[in-house]
């Protein structure tokens, strides 16, 4: 068969500008990338995956944007994750985050290229920057999205985010203002795989920062900070120990799990009698009432006296070798097994 007719079209495409400038319209999906220590932030990678999926569904391109000289080398990685083109503002001035300089550069780029959708990861930087940029662009921003999708009938970005402590979701859209901005909550989106064979274009852009100066002085990018102790009744994560942990070594596992999760340790009267915990750490009718987001009961049977103290917990995990223990019926997740074996396995899984 003769495919010559295709050859001429292929020739036309080579060297054609990747970007379609339609004049008045906004087009394409952008991801403002964040990098630290020479690596793309996980949230950025997830946003890239999401951007790629959405771009494919409406047939547009994905742009990555990198700011700073240190981030510049990551352009190829962005392409591997799905970018068709990467704009790099590689001036060393942008190696340091300043809300004013970042929003100026991005606003200028947006003004020039007019993306229809602009995404950032909802990291500390993204949460700080995105609203300032949105305000500058006089556009809508849907923040902390746990889900984004395109309404195909209206070609609108729908962003869904948690409200009321995560018990409900709201979905918003930005019908007219452009670009439609969203920040994506890291961890809620799949991590795409890298395709080293993907090709794309990397374009250096000049950043005009005349008249724009950052007003932050970063005194210490990795400051030590002692969080004040939270009383047990206000703790968000509680790891609770019962007699089923056997001995002090078993109890130490519960302490390690609490430390790994950023929670506090509590226990039953049995744990108190064994000398592992103090009176103030006893949970139950005769002790404290707790209302954490996560309560992990390790090696405790959890009768009504204990349950009464934890009934307001959002999510209860019980680890007990006896699947008929009272707590195993009321827990959300009941892990049947010896806590002394399950806990080390959990610690392993968490550090992976």
């Amino acid at each position: 068969m003769d495919f010559g007719y295709l050859d001429s079209w292929i020739e036309e495409q080579v060297g054609k500008e990747v970007v379609e400038q339609t004049g008045t319209g906004y087009r394409n999906i952008w991801v403002v990338a964040e990098a630290s220590n020479g690596a793309l932030a996980p949230g950025t990678v997830q946003a890239m995956g999401q951007a790629r999926d959405m771009a494919d569904s409406i047939g547009v391109y994905v742009f990555g944007v990198l700011l700073g000289a240190q981030a510049a080398p990551l352009a190829q990685q962005l392409i591997a994750y799905g970018a068709d083109k990467v704009l790099v503002a590689g001036t060393p001035v942008l190696d340091e985050y300043q809300p004013e300089t970042y929003s100026r550069v991005l606003a200028d780029l947006v003004g020039q290229y007019r993306p229809e959708i602009l995404l950032l990861a909802a990291t500390a930087l993204g949460n700080d920057l995105a609203p300032r940029l949105a305000q500058r662009l006089n556009t809508g921003l849907i923040s902390h999205c746990v889900k984004v999708e395109i309404d195909m009938s209206e070609r609108l970005l729908l962003g869904t985010f948690r409200i009321l402590g995560g018990e409900m979701f709201n979905t918003l859209a930005c019908p007219e203002a452009r670009p439609q901005m969203a920040t994506l909550q890291p961890g809620y989106f799949r991590t795409p795989s890298q395709d080293a064979y993907r090709s794309g274009e990397v374009q250096e852009v000049e950043a005009d920062l005349s008249g724009t100066a950052g007003r932050l002085t970063w005194l210490n990018l990795d400051a030590a900070f002692d969080k004040p102790a939270v009383p047990l009744r206000k703790a968000r994560i509680v790891v609770s120990a019962g007699r089923g942990l056997g001995n002090a070594e078993g109890f130490a596992l519960a302490e390690q799990l609490a430390a790994a999760l950023g929670g506090v340790v509590a226990g039953t009267r049995g744990a108190l009698d064994e000398g592992w915990i103090a009176e103030e750490q006893v949970v139950g009718i005769g002790g404290e009432t707790v209302a954490p987001d996560l309560y992990i009961a390790c090696g405790l049977s959890g009768d009504i006296h204990h349950y009464f103290g934890i009934r307001n917990s959002k999510l209860v995990v019980a680890i007990n070798a006896d699947e008929k223990a009272p707590i195993m019926k009321v827990a959300n997740y009941a892990v049947v097994g010896d806590a002394r074996q399950i806990l080390p396995a959990m610690l392993q899984a968490l550090t992976r």
Binding site: P231, R233, I285, G286, G287, I304, H305, Y307, F308, R311
Partner: protein, 388 residues
Amino acid sequence: MDFSFPKEYQLFRRMVRDFAENEVKPLAKAVDREHRVPFETVKKAAALGLMGVPFPQKYGGMGGGEMGYCIMMEELGRICTSTATVIGAHTGIAAMSIYLDGTEEQKQKFLVPLASGRLIGAFGLTEAQAGSDAAAIKTTAVRDGNHFVLNGAKVFITNGDIAGIMTAMAVTDPSLGAYGGITAFIVETDTPGFSIGSLENKMGIRGSSTAECVFQDVRVPKENVLGQFGAGFLTFMKSLDIGRASLGAACLGGAQAAMEGCMEWTMAREQFGVPVATKQSVYFMIADMAAEIEALRSIIYRTAWLIDTHQPHIKEAAICKLYGSEVASRCIHKAVQIHGALGYSRDYWVERAYRDARIAEIFEGTNEIQRIVLASNLFRPYGLRIPS
């Protein structure tokens, strides 16, 4: 008729509730177990103006009137009867007696430090042989130059050992009896001759101290005569009459806590496959509690309103104390029953509440005295005198 609390009182209630839940509640079990006064709570309360709630701001008080005071006592009583007792004795009868009958100089000198919480107050009336028969006190006050010299011993005095100021009743003329022969004095407890005897080992309210106070040639300046000379009995009765309303408010809080605790427990506890709250024998008890609590709430705050609007209130205040203490006792009695064996356990709040509630029917005028007060006020308009 608007039965809602004015907005500042609603805001005040929210603040006191938060304070009670976050600062008082964590200590409730410990102060009972360890038989100690929660001084750290007193310090925090003083910093927020809670040691002088009913008194005008010009005397270092909070300016909340009786209404505000009852709100605070209700919220404290809901969490820890001991704490309510410490603050209640200090504010409701000790400082109150100076507020009601003190001269301007006395208010500046004694009420201000009490209202601001710099000093704790106590009310020295009861003696070994003079309980309900308050007129039978034997502590004497003999004039000596510009002083009165007090000799005698008071018993069952709340805050007696921690007070900086005590208002004490003493006999100034044995021949005149209750009316004319008894005078009230403001005693600074660091005066030589004042000492503490024994501390009571109580069934409940163990987070408050109840002391024997000994007067041995305690020289009190004549400027410290509180109220009219010889009219001490009236001075003290005035203070007790008002104090009853807030004591009833504390009982209201205790009853409320009992009911709330029962509801939480019965919704969680299952027997025979269902929450026990669905069993008629149980929910009838809770319904009865609710009815009595609402009725008590109405009389408490109506009485507070009568007091704040300077209307007669003796009858209503007696009802507050009488009904309040009995409602609280009934509610906590039911709570013990509802919690079953758990209600009998010293590890849980129910048995502490049971022990704490009992005193309310006894102190600040036994319920028998309240009935006498009530009856005598009922029959007086008809010309019939009820003897005490």
